[in-house]
Symmetry: D2
Subunit: 365 residues, 4 copies
C-alpha cells in the first residue's frame, strides 16, 4: 500500500492541489464516535494561512464528509472526507513547468511519474494534502479523548527563537487548541512572528522544531522491533511535507550522555510505576510505559522563496534560474503543528485498536 497508512485503522490519501478535490478515507474506525464538525473546522483553522505571516491564497477548507457518519456519529464503515480545491491560480504554474524548484518535489515527481504527473501547485505533493489528514485527525482525537488520551504540539524553536518548556501538560494542551500561534510563551510567540516577517521581508523563509507530548497512553502498547511506537510514529511524522528529523525523549542529546544519566529510574507512585525522569520519552523497547510520550519533529524552512535560485529545466536538460512569484508561506512550521497532532492521533488510534480491538473506542459494548 503506497498512500495508505495503518493496519486496523487506516488512512488513504488522494488528491492533487489543482485537481477537482482532495480528500482522505478513514477505514476501520469504531462505530459510535461523535463527529463534531465544529471541532474539525477549528482544527483546520489552525492549519490555514492567516494574517500577515501567511500566504494570500484563501484556502477555505470547506470539507464534506460523504460517508461513514450517520446521525452525527461514525457508522464504523469507511469515512471519506472531501475538500474541493478553490481559488486555484493554475496558470502561474505553467511558467515554471519543467523547472525544478529547489527543495520541492518537481524533479522527483518527474523522475517517478515520467511527466504524467499533475504538476500544478505541487500536485499530489502539495502541503494542501495535509488538510484532509487534519480532518481525520480531528475524528481520531475525539476517539482518543473518550479514553482519556490527550496530546499537543508547540513550536519549541523557530529559527533562533525558543519557546518555554512544557509546564502542566493539560493546561498547555488547552491553550494550544485555541492559540493564534502554537507557542506556549506569549513573548516567544511575538518574537517568532517577527522572525517570520523578517525572513519574508528578505524574500526568504524559516523553519523550526516542533515538540509534542501525549498523555494518558496506556502502557504496554506497541511492538518490539518493527512496529514499535517510535517506528510507527516516525513513519507517520516523516510523511508530513518538510519534516527532516524526528527524535524521542531527549533524542540526539542522549547520544552524548552517559548511561547513568540517560536511564530513567523508576519508583512506585499510587501503585503505578512512574519514572523520575523521562529521557526515553515514555517508550522502552518500542513499547509505551505509561509516562508521557514525548518527541520532536524538525521542519525545514519552506522551500518556496522569492530570491533567485539556480536550478535546472529538467524537460530540456539544461541549467536555468528561477524567481518565484505568487503566494507562498514564509513559514509552515506553525501550520504543521496541528498536522503533527493529527498524524500522531491517527497512529495511536491504530496501535490501540490493534491491541484492544476495534470497540475499545466508540459506542459499541
Amino acid at each position: 500500500m503506497k498512500n495508505t497508512f495503518g493496519e486496523s485503522v487506516a488512512v488513504t490519501l488522494f488528491g492533487e492541489s489543482h485537481g477537482e478535490a482532495i480528500g482522505a478515507v478513514l477505514d476501520g474506525i469504531a462505530p459510535g464516535i461523535p463527529v463534531d464538525e465544529d471541532a474539525i473546522s477549528a482544527m483546520l483553522a489552525r492549519r490555514r494561512p492567516a494574517g500577515k505571516i501567511g500566504t494570500a491564497r484563501r484556502e477555505s477548507d470547506d470539507f464534506r464528509i460523504v460517508s461513514g457518519v450517520f446521525a452525527g456519529k461514525t457508522t464504523g464503515a469507511p469515512l471519506c472526507v472531501l475538500i474541493p480545491n478553490e481559488d486555484k491560480k493554475s496558470s502561474a504554474y505553467e511558467t515554471w513547468r519543467g523547472l525544478a524548484r529547489p527543495g520541492h518535489a518537481d524533479l522527483t515527481a518527474f523522475q517517478k511519474y515520467h511527466g504524467f504527473e499533475d504538476y500544478r501547485g505541487g500536485g499530489h505533493f502539495s502541503g494542501r494534502l495535509t488538510a484532509p489528514l487534519v480532518t481525520l485527525g480531528a475524528v481520531a482525537l475525539c476517539a482518543l479523548a473518550e479514553k482519556g488520551i490527550a496530546l499537543g504540539t508547540h513550536i519549541a524553536r523557530l529559527e533562533n527563537v525558543k519557546d518555554r518548556e512544557w509546564g502542566d501538560f493539560s493546561a498547555d494542551f488547552a491553550a494550544l487548541k485555541t492559540a493564534d500561534f502554537p507557542m506556549l510563551d506569549g513573548g516567544a510567540a511575538n518574537a517568532a512572528r517577527e522572525a517570520i516577517l523578517a525572513a519574508a521581508a528578505e524574500g526568504d523563509s524559516v523553519g523550526g522544531v516542533l515538540e509534542s507530548a501525549v498523555l494518558g497512553m496506556p502502557a504496554g502498547v506497541g511492538e518490539p522491533f518493527f512496529d514499535s511506537v517510535e517506528s510507527r510514529l516516525s513513519h507517520a511524522l516523516f510523511s508530513i511535507p518538510a519534516v527532516k528529523g524526528v527524535e524521542f525523549g531527549d533524542g540526539f542529546a542522549l547520544a552524548a550522555m552517559r548511561g547513568s544519566k540517560a536511564n530513567d529510574p523508576w519508583r512506585m507512585e499510587n501503585g503505578v510505576p512512574v519514572s523520575k525522569t523521562n529521557r526515553n520519552g515514555g517508550v522502552n523497547g518500542g513499547i509505551s510505559n505509561g509516562m508521557p510520550i514525548t518527541f520532536r519533529t524538525a521542519v525545514k524552512p519552506t522551500p518556496s522563496i522569492f530570491k533567485e535560485q539556480e536550478t535546472v529545466d529538467f524537460l530540456h536538460g539544461k541549467d536555468a534560474t528561477l524567481s518565484l512569484a505568487g503566494r507562498h508561506d514564509p513559514a509552515i512550521v506553525h501550520r504543521a503543528a496541528v498536522v503533527v497532532d493529527a498524524m500522531t492521533a491517527l497512529t495511536l488510534l491504530d496501535l490501540l485498536s490493534l491491541r484492544f480491538g476495534t470497540d475499545f473506542f466508540g459506542g459499541g459494548k
Copy 2:
C-alpha cells in the same frame, strides 16, 4: 503484521535471547542472488563483541540458512536463517526477575505480555535479535551491489569524540567494511575507544550518533506521504534497539536555517541533474532524487550499567534498587553501525522491488 517489515520483500523476526534459537525469514527476494556465507560472517563479525571494549559473552553467531538457498543462490522462496543461542547464563537473570532495569524493556514487556514473556536476557527484546537482521542485510547488500548501489555507516560522534566527515564515499565504504572500529579517522577511533573504556571503568556506558550514506540509488523511488523514503527508512531504523533519533540530510540543523540556505540548487552535469549541496539528504517530497541519501541515527548509551540504580519490583509493586553484574557492553553504537547498514539495505531492497519488480535483482531475465 507486527514483527514483519516490508511489502514486496519482507523480513519476519523471531527468537528470544535465551530460547533455543533466534532467526529471521526473508520473503519475496528475487531468485538467483549469490549468497556468500563468508561475506555474511564478515558482516556478523562487525556486530559481535570483541576485545576490551566488548562484553565477555561469546556470541559465535553460527548461523544456518535452512531454506531459500540452493546451489549458492537464492531460490526466490523464503529464506530462513537460524542462529542457535549459546553460552547462555540464564540463572543470573533469575536474580533480577521482576525488577525493571532502567532503560530496558523489562517493565514494558510485562505490561504488554502480562508476565508470560521470556524475560531471560531481555527475551525477544534482546539486542541479540539484530544478528539475524544483519545476516539478511548481508544478502540484501549483495543484491543492491549488483545494481551499483552501495552504502556505509560510520560513527559521526561518540559521546564527545567526533569523526571526520565523509570524504570519497566509495573509499570510505570500503574502509568501513574491514575496519576494527567504524570510524573513518584513526585518531578519532582511538579516542572513541578510550571514551568507551573510561565509561566502563566507572561502571557506566556511552552512546553516539551514526552517520550513513547510500550511493547509486536510482531517482524516482519512494512514495509521497506515507511510504516516503524517509518514512520507510526511519521506520526501519527506529526498530533497532537503543535508537532514539533519526534525521535526513542536515536534519534538525535545517530547522535553524533560512530557506535560501536549506534549499539545494540544481545544475546539469553530464546530462543528469545534480544538486550543488545535499542538505535534503538525497530525498525530495519523499522520493529519491539521485543524489546520495544521507541520514543520521542517534543511539542512546547502553542501558545496562554497573552503578546502582533506583527502580521498582513490578511483580510486587514496590520500590527497589538494582546493581547489575554479569556481562554487559559499555557501548553498542559501534556494533549498531552494521545493523543500520542491514536495515537500510532491506528497506531499499523492498522499495526498489516494489518499483521495478522482483526480477530487478537477481538472476532472472
Copy 3:
C-alpha cells in the same frame, strides 16, 4: 486494512447507499494509462438495471474522477472516483428498521456496528458499492489491454438455463462487451430473461453461475501458498455481494475424477509449453502457467423478494414477519458479470505490478 484490497495497486472502497456519495480510491497504479470515460460509462451501463428485468430505481452512476487523472491519463497518484447517490427513497427503509431481511446483512451489520450503522438501503453493504469498483476496474482493464491481457465473463447457468461453452475467447469477449445480456447464446439469453421474469412474477428471485476467462496472462505470476492466483482472485470474488462459491478450472468436478484425467498433459507449441486440456484453469501451484485462467463464481438469488418471510426484529428481540415492497431486482447475476470482470482486472493488475514493477503498465519508460 479492512476495506482495502491489494498491495502494490490497491483499492479502498467507501460509501453508504443513501449517504451523500459512494466511491473508491485506486492507489499505486502506473502513470500514463489512458482513462477513457466513455469506456467507463459503457462498463457501468452493463451493471445498471435496465428494462423489465431490472428494478425501477434509476441509478445514473454519474461518476466523477476527482484526482489521479490529468490530460486524460493517470498521473500515478491516487485516483478517486465519486458517484453521488441519487433517487434515494430513504423513508421506505424506516418501515423495516430493525427487521433482519433474510439473506441480507441487516442483522450482521447491527451485530458488528451496534446500531450505529447507516441501515438505509443496505448502507455500506449495498450492491451499489460495486459501481465504483466497476469504474476502477475499467481503468485496470485498459492497463491490462495494453499488455495484451483480456478477460470476459458470461452467465454459464441461470437457475436451470445453460449457456453454451466458450468458443473463440476473443470473439466471445468482444460480444460480451456490447451484449444486452451476458450470455453467449442468443436463445439461452432469451430463456434466461424468461426465467427471471417468471421468478419476478412470483415475487421471487433467481441466481446463477458466472464463468470467466483471462487470456494473455504471463506465466510465472502469483505466489505459492498464501498469495496464489487462486487465493487472490477468490479473495476478490468473494468480496462481491451474493457470491457464495468460487472454483478454478474444472473446480469441484475435479474432486470426482481420477488423477489421470484431472492432470493436464503438456506439449510444445511454437516453442511454448501448452497444455492439451486446461482442467487446472491455467494455474499450477498457485502460479499462472500461460494457459487461459478460467474460473466460475456462484451468485445466490437476490435476497430481496416480495413473498412474506419470517424474521426477527433484532432491536426488540422478537419474532416478526417481513413483506418487502419497493424496488428490488429479481436477479443480479447478469449485473454481477461486469463486477467479476472488474475485481479480476484489479487483482491481476496488482499481481503483475508486484511481479514486474509499477511501470510495467502505463506510459513510463
Copy 4:
C-alpha cells in the same frame, strides 16, 4: 507480503522439501496460551501418511518450537516451529529435472524462478509445507477452544463415495479428532479406503470434497467486501495445495434455487436470533451471524500418478513422456482435512484478534 498470511496474527511459511528444514512463524498471538506438544503431535499425525493408503515415505514430523513458548505457554513474541526434513531421496528427482510433471508446479516454478528454484521433491511447493501450518493451527485451535470456538472437517465425498451429513457437531468434531480416517460414517470410510486402493492399483489417484463447520464463532466478525469471512477463509483455503474450489453454505447449489428457498428465515431462540436453515453458511454480507459457519473445499486428485503421461522438457523445449516412480500418495484429501482445520483456525484467530484485540485470547487480563 508474499508468503505471509494474516494481519494481527500472521503466519510466515518457509522451507523446501529437500532443504535442511521447513517451518513457519506465528506472529502476533496473545501471550499465555497453553502450548500442548502432545496435541500438536496428534494433529500432525492426522496429516501424515499411514498404512496402505499412504506413501512409503516416512515423515516423522519431529517438530521443534524454537521461540515464542516459555514455561509451556505462548510468550506473545513470535513463535517459530521448525521441522527438519528427513528421509529425503533427492537423487530420484534428478531423473525428472526439467520435466513438467502434469498437475504439479514444476513448470510454473521454473517460469517464476527462472531455474534457480530448489526443484527437489517439489521444493517450496511441496505438500510437506503444510506440516508447519498444521503445527501452528494446533496452537490456534487451542486459543479458539478457550473461547468456546470449535471446528472440524470431514470428507463429504471421495470420488463417488459419500459420507453422511453432519449430525451433532460437537460429537462429530470429537470423533474426527481421533478417527483413523476423516469420515463420519464407518461404512463410508471403508468404501473410501477401497476407492483409494483401487485407484492405487491402477497407478492412479483420487480426490474429494471436504466439508467443514465452525461452532461458537461470535456474531459480527468480518468486514463487508474485501475482508469478509468468505474472502479471508477462501484466501486461506486456496493456499492449500490441490484445492480448486471453495463454497460457503449451500454454495453453488444456491445458484439454482429461488430466493424464497435460498434465504434463511430468522426466529428468536433464548433471546438470540437463530436461522431456521443455514444455506448461507453462517455468514451474511461477509459478517458472521452466530450460526455455524459451513463450507466445502474441493481437493483435486494427487497429481503424482504412475501411469505414463505426456509432458514437456522445459529446459530443452521439447516434448517428452514421464513415468513416475518412487513414493507418492494415491490420495491426499484425507490428509488435507486437518490442514483445512489449521488454516481455518489461523484465519479466525486473526479476524477475532483484529476485532476484539490481542488479549481476547490467552492469559492476559
